[in-house]
């Protein structure tokens, strides 16, 4: 018994003795001594396309600071080197453990692949897995330096904007992990929100589609919703349709609070490929102005079918676009890969199989309620 107790005391004495020699003469810092980088933006230098323009935003915590965010911009050949250059410019130790958002300019992602940059960031043990990725129209510097009314902290503003929330499910909430996964996986392509600065606010206006790590095109929010529905998002924001009715009218109906389920099935035949997509959406019907009485089961069914038809059309239209662009953000190829044994070639899929896939969409709609008004 007593032997053990001697050891406790020895441990405590040693711990207190050793504490003196653990710091190696460098002062122990704490959060206020770090420059905790919140946003990094990458852009191509306009005059020389081999140079990167890196912008970094750090919060200022001192209560008397005039600017709540410090922004530095540096031009260098190596994007990672640029950050070290910034470290020399600040009085604080630059630390990436609080990095929240990484922005790329549209020019950069269209011209060059960004996997190299992302890999460097992903390898850094300080940087988390939940850092959000965005593509900006114009240089990211403008977005970061912009003046937004009542949003004094650009880092918090951008972080909250990029965070997953229901109203914005038309676009993906791509984190650095998701991007790397989708870019390196053999069956998927990344999709990233596209930011525009419009008169004092940041608007996430589109979804940027990538082929591996290069951007190819943009999707509009409505298209984004269908893409997300097929890519198995569980909840969707409201979608509005103009449906066809017998009388020839095209009344407007919106579905809100949507729960969605989707099932992608392929025939597994690479010679004669076919994909069947089953979508099930249920939600609340809003602002319906047509002739049917939604309280009645039969007429409700008619409306549901009409909506389903529109959904199918829209989906097929979107799929056609994706096929032409040769990008696969919905992971249609996964349904083939999981049924075909042997090595899966992404190139073969993209160039040979994908264009000849026949798609079939079956959408089942269920109107759960019709709001509070008759």
């Amino acid at each position: 018994m007593s032997r053990r107790n001697i050891m406790i005391i020895k441990y405590l004495i040693l711990l207190s003795l050793l504490s003196g020699c653990g710091t190696d003469g460098i002062q122990q810092a704490s959060i206020e001594n770090y420059g905790l980088v919140g946003i990094v933006g990458y852009d191509l230098e306009t005059s020389d396309n081999n140079q990167y323009k890196v912008t970094v935003a750090l919060p200022q915590s001192h209560p008397e600071a005039e600017e709540l965010t410090q922004v530095f911009t540096v031009i260098d050949k190596e994007p990672y080197e640029a950050m070290l250059e910034i470290a020399r410019k600040t009085e604080k130790a630059l630390d990436f453990s609080q990095l929240r958002v990484i922005l790329f300019s549209e020019d950069l992602v269209r011209e060059k692949g960004i996997l190299g940059i992302m890999e460097r960031l992903y390898r850094d043990p300080n940087i988390g897995a939940n850092v959000y990725i965005g593509v900006t129209k114009g240089p990211p510097e403008e977005v970061i330096k912009g003046d937004y009314k009542d949003k004094p902290q650009i880092i918090l503003y951008l972080h909250d904007l990029m965070e997953p929330h229901l109203e914005a499910t038309f676009r993906p909430f791509t984190t650095i992990h998701d991007f790397i996964y989708e870019a390196t996986d053999r069956t998927s392509d990344p999709k990233v929100p596209y930011l525009e600065k419009i008169e004092g606010t940041i608007d996430i206006s589109h979804v940027a589609l990538f082929e591996n790590d290069k951007m190819v095109d943009l999707l509009k929010p409505d298209e984004g919703k269908y893409m997300q529905a097929m890519a198995r998002a569980k909840r969707l924001p409201s979608i509005g349709f103009n449906i066809q009715e017998k009388s020839g009218d095209e009344p407007y109906v919106a579905l809100d609070l949507i729960n969605s389920r989707s099932k992608i099935k392929s025939n597994g035949d690479l010679e004669n490929p076919m994909v069947n997509i089953r979508l099930k959406l249920d939600g609340m019907a809003m602002s319906y102005t047509g002739e049917q009485n939604l309280e009645e089961a039969n007429s409700r069914k008619i409306v549901e079918d009409a909506i389903g038809k529109r959904v199918e059309e829209e989906c097929l239209k979107l799929i056609k676009k994706l096929q032409e662009l040769k990008v696969d953000p919905v992971r249609f190829s996964e349904s083939f890969r999981s049924r075909v044994s042997g090595d899966w070639s992404e190139d073969e899929w993209r160039n040979v199989i994908y264009p000849k896939v026949t798609f079939e969409v079956e959408a089942t709609i269920e109107i759960t309620s019709t709001g509070i008004l008759e």
Binding site: M1, S2, R4, N5, I6, I8, Y11, L12, L15, S16, S19, G22, Q28, A29, S30, I31, E32, Y34, L36, G38, P59, S61, H62, P63, D95, S97, Q98, R100, N126, G128, Q153, I155, L156, H159
Partner: protein
């Protein structure tokens, strides 16, 4: 530990020991001496309350000795002095039936009796000695406890009198199976110690163990059961109290019924319960008085409070110093704003404020009640607010420290709550040097230490090291009463069920 200590002190101790042995021999010579009046008077020289009375009744010269301060004067008058006048010859037992005879060669035992409040009657002519118990020192009345307060349930508390304490238990458990074994502890102080147990429930091994440990004690005097407790502990160097002390008879009763042993001592209002487990220190009998739903919630809060106390402030230190990545953005924003002006590293900041709280508590405890509460308010509000405004500490830290201080007072045992507060400093300091790694090193040490501890041979950390899985139902959770029919595994009771199984 003891061997090292004795090695260091060898020289001093040895000389002293020789000296003491000589002194003891002088005293020992007195044993078994013949009783003479001179010898008695000699022994009680300069004892101012020693009274020697002489009277003559029917040709019998009677000498009476007693210590005035610890006898009850009315008993002396009514049951001794008055009847003595009716004495004929030496038939003292006829008039004072409760007198006991003493042999003439028992000087030391006679002296003992006088000290213990007996009155000695010495019949000089017929050469007989009797003693009569007239013990009746001034006593405090039974009142409610200051340290263990409760809303529901009985309010009476133990007093400093062993007799009263025994009677408080006896009136609760009216059973002949409730046994009381007594002994005397302290060479000089000669204090009465008793331990109680229910013969048909308590574990024999435990009873023998308690008896053995009490008999092994060699000391000049014991001030209180708090000291006695430290002398019969399994691990005297541990940070944790291994036996529960209670001032409440109902607590003692609940443990006796569970098959445990209660040790009580004269002059001490606290009763030791053994064996006890770690979780017992967090529970209170009020958990059983309250409805089971509420009681369960309160218990969970208490256990959570333990972890909050030891981990909350140290996590503040380690996160701010080593792991800023763990803070969500909005929390980081708040924290860095409040920390922005603080000139110290988080460790120093936390240690400072924790010590201030400790000082406030100590100052409040040593002051009269009214002044004490004022100090609390002055300290808490004035110092706290001023320190934040001056930028010496961050205001979030004040909140954290206050929460952790409050949580440390949650255990029902005061000793446990002090122990937790002490351990917290290990966590804070190691978090300052080694971040979370340090915190978890200390946590690992703490848990391993707890699992290795025993209380009267029973694992101290019991429901965690299972004795019986049913312990969870009584000690950790608290089942509704109609389901609660087991004794705890820690007490290793002879009868496991509190009522026969299968009865409707």
């Amino acid at each position: 530990m003891r061997s090292i200590y004795e090695k260091w002190m060898k020289k001093t101790l040895e000389v002293r020991n020789q000296n003491d042995i000589k002194e003891n021999q002088k005293v020992d010579q007195k044993r078994n001496e013949k009783i003479t009046i001179e010898a008695i008077e000699n022994e009680f020289r300069y004892v101012s309350d020693f009274i020697k009375m002489e009277m003559e009744v029917n040709d019998e010269r009677i000498l009476i000795f007693y210590l005035e301060s610890i006898i009850d004067a009315s008993i002396l008058q009514r049951h001794l002095l008055v009847p003595l006048h009716r004495i004929t010859n030496d038939a003292i037992l006829e008039v004072i039936p409760n007198a006991e005879s003493i042999e003439w060669d028992q000087l030391s035992s006679l002296i003992n009796d006088v000290i213990n409040g007996n009155t000695i009657i010495l019949l000089q002519n017929s050469r007989k000695i009797y003693k009569v118990d007239t013990y009746g020192p001034p006593e405090r009345a039974i009142s409610s406890s200051d340290t263990e307060t409760n809303m529901l349930g009985p309010k009476d508390a133990f007093t400093e009198s062993l007799q009263t304490n025994v009677s408080l238990i006896k009136r609760r458990i009216k059973s002949s199976k409730l046994k009381t074994k007594s002994s005397v502890i302290g060479k000089e102080a000669r204090t009465n110690v008793s331990f109680m147990y229910l013969e048909d429930i308590a574990n024999e091994e435990n009873i023998n163990q308690v008896e053995k440990r009490l008999n092994d004690i060699e000391i000049d005097g014991v001030l209180s059961t708090s000291i006695l407790k430290q002398m019969i502990e399994d691990q005297p160097l541990s940070l944790f109290p291994v036996y529960l002390s209670t001032e409440k008879p109902d607590v003692a009763m609940s443990h006796l019924l569970d098959g445990r042993i209660a040790i009580m001592m004269d002059n001490s209002p606290e009763v030791i319960i053994c064996p006890t487990t770690f979780v017992n220190m967090f529970n209170s009998t009020e958990d059983y008085y309250a409805r089971w739903t509420v009681a369960n919630m309160i218990r969970m809060i208490r256990f959570a409070g333990f972890f909050i106390t030891i981990l909350l402030t140290s996590t503040y230190v380690s996160v701010l110093t080593f792991h800023p990545e763990m803070l969500p953005p909005h929390l980081l924003n708040l924290l860095s704003q409040s920390r922005s002006q603080v000139p110290f590293p988080p460790v120093i900041e936390v240690l400072g404020i924790e010590l201030v709280i400790e000082v406030l508590r100590e100052a409040g405890a040593r002051m009269p009640t009214k002044v004490g509460s004022t100090i609390g308010i002055v300290g808490g509000i004035v110092i706290g607010t001023a320190a934040v405004e001056a930028g010496l500490v961050s205001n979030i830290l004040i909140v954290i420290v206050a929460v952790s201080a409050l949580a440390s007072f949650l255990p029902s045992s005061f000793e446990m709550s002090s122990a937790i507060r002490f351990i917290r400093y290990f966590f804070i300091v190691s978090a300052g040097f080694l971040g979370m790694y340090g915190q978890f090193l200390v946590l690992a040490w703490l848990l391993i230490h707890l699992t290795n501890m025993t209380s009267l041979g029973t694992p101290y950390f019991t429901p965690v090291i299972p004795r019986k899985w049913t312990d969870y139902l009584k000690d950790v959770f608290r089942l509704p009463y109609f389901l609660l029919n087991v004794r705890t595994g820690a007490s290793r009771a002879k009868k496991f069920l509190t009522r026969p199984y299968g009865d409707d």
